[in-house]
């Protein structure tokens, strides 16, 4: 445990705190923009997957399957090198949020599809019978009912996305983890492995833990409500 209890190592971390703050800023920026891209893609492909048109369904299915069944690292490398060797290198962070956005978008699409499909079919029919258009039906009837099913897994997806910002390392790295790594292996800053990794890990934990805790709490209360509803249903049927 090199330097875990050495004041010099901890002082060095404090001296170079800018590195960690920059990494944190880059990680958050990448995650935020990737989240917006992922939400847009997720909503588009999620709605396509629940539409009646077979073509749209197939396109959405292909997107989801191809993206979910290949590693995000591969997608990021592909995007980075394809752009770099064709002479349009967009920079590490842009590559990062594009690749992460596209990858996470596939998960969002699945979450949204499952959420919409969890709404009973009668709700769609009732909305149409009342003369609602597609947008109105979704906005007033379907989304409000499915949002409680969508939110917990969506939060888990966001946590995974924040963790996946560390993939940026392979294309050059500007995120928190990559900067920590270059800090501990750097010529002038190197050596203080344990303190630096503790700082990095604690930052990740502080961001991700609240989110994943909220997600599992929601999920559990939802499950309990489901069970209660099922029991009540049985009671009324009997």
């Amino acid at each position: 445990m090199s330097g875990l209890f050495s004041t010099r190592a901890w002082n060095k971390i404090w001296l170079y705190r800018g590195t960690f703050l920059l990494g944190l800023a880059n990680t958050l920026k990448t995650a935020a923009i990737a989240l917006i891209i992922a939400l847009i893609l997720g909503i588009i492909f999620g709605l396509m997957a629940t539409s009646n048109k077979k073509v749209l369904k197939t396109i959405s299915r292909i997107y989801v399957e191809v993206i979910q069944n290949t590693p995000v690292l591969l997608q990021m490398c592909f995007l980075y090198y394809a752009l770099a060797f064709s002479g349009h290198s967009p920079g590490i962070i842009v590559t990062g949020f594009l690749a992460l956005g596209i990858y996470t978008g596939a998960y969002m699409a699945e979450v949204i599809r499952a959420g919409i499909e969890a709404v009973p079919k009668g709700q769609f029919e009732a909305a149409q019978a009342q003369g609602f258009g597609y947008v109105q039906m979704m906005f007033y009837i379907i989304i409000p009912q499915s949002i409680k099913v969508i939110l917990p897994p969506m939060t888990n997806t966001i946590v995974n996305m924040i963790k996946n910002t560390s993939c940026l390392y392979i294309v050059g790295g500007a995120d928190l983890l990559s900067l920590t790594y270059s800090f501990v292996t750097g010529e002038n800053t190197g050596g203080s492995y344990a303190p630096a990794y503790i700082v990095c890990g604690v930052i990740f934990f502080l961001i991700c833990f609240p989110l994943s805790t909220i997600a599992s709490t929601w999920e559990n209360s939802l499950k309990k409500r489901e069970q209660k509803a099922a029991i009540n249903l049985e009671a009324t049927e009997a």
């Binding site: 399957e65 979910q68 592909f78 890990g201």
Partner: protein
């Protein structure tokens, strides 16, 4: 894209194909071994978290909660970096074998440990979901038959748990196969790293003395296709199992909510 033919000619090079196929083999071995170890550790953690609430055993519960939450909320690459520096490596690993240099073997061992530690946290939560799905009455019935806690777990609860979570565990294999690509950050062993290495030397093999965009498309396209074929096969199997399970459980009502929970668990990876 005038260089596409040159790029494709690389796929006809037996040395390159051999190099890639070994990468696929390593990807599969690392993933399967990691999942097997993780299932053992994860089951232990899940049991500790679920059933060690009483005074003396409380410490075990706290430890498992800390472990699970720690590994679930930090990136895999973080643990790979840490294990590469801190994890001790037994002597027999530190030699050239499996066609890898001793340095790469050491890195593979350490990174695989990181993968196992990380995946254990995820699998612990999957197993816990399975444990919670076993009816409470089963445990009480076990006690009434004079079984002790260990016997109840081994003969009654765990068999039902694993039967329930096999689809989710299989989709965790997909996640682990994808996660094993993170090893590419520290060593050239598995498919992802090997693809990247071929690309960096593509100018020597494609006959144009330069690395072109078409090389990127051909090489990464090939790697993506390999990953896709492996993972898609598993995910089709998972879906078959889920359908089979649902019909054999005799659940006739539309189980969309249930499907959603399965999805939630799949997304945990």
């Amino acid at each position: 894209m005038g260089t596409l033919k040159n790029s494709l000619s690389m796929l006809g090079n037996p040395a390159i194909i051999n190099f890639v196929l070994y990468g696929v083999l390593f990807t599969l071995i690392i993933s399967v071994v990691s999942v097997l170890f993780s299932v053992v550790i994860g089951t232990g953690l899940a049991l500790m978290r679920n059933y060690c609430g009483k005074q003396k055993a409380l410490l075990l519960k706290v430890l498992s909660v800390v472990y699970i939450e720690m590994f679930r909320n930090t990136p895999l690459l973080f643990w790979i970096f840490i294990c590469v520096v801190f994890w001790p490596c037994p002597g027999f690993v530190d030699q050239a074998m499996f066609g890898l240099s001793s340095v790469n073997n050491k890195l593979m061992f350490k990174a695989a440990v990181a993968l196992i530690l990380y995946t254990s946290g995820v699998i612990a939560e999957i197993v816990r979901g399975g444990l919670n799905s076993v009816a409470r009455g089963q445990i009480e019935a076990g006690y009434s038959q004079g079984f002790n806690m260990i016997q109840i777990m081994w003969y009654i609860v765990l068999p039902q748990t694993f039967k329930a979570i096999i689809p989710t565990l299989l989709s965790q294999v997909i996640t682990t196969i994808k996660d094993s690509s993170f090893l590419a950050n520290v060593a050239v062993i598995e498919l992802m790293a090997r693809t990247k290495q071929i690309l960096s030397a593509a100018n020597r093999y494609n006959g144009t003395n330069a690395i072109n965009v078409s090389d990127v498309f051909v090489l990464f396209g090939m790697a993506a296709a390999i990953y896709f074929i492996i993972n898609f096969t598993i995910s089709i199997t998972v879906r078959r199992l889920q359908i089979k399970k649902r019909t054999s459980n005799g659940i006739l009502r539309s189980s969309n909510m249930q499907e959603t929970y399965v999805l939630i668990q799949e997304n945990m990876g």
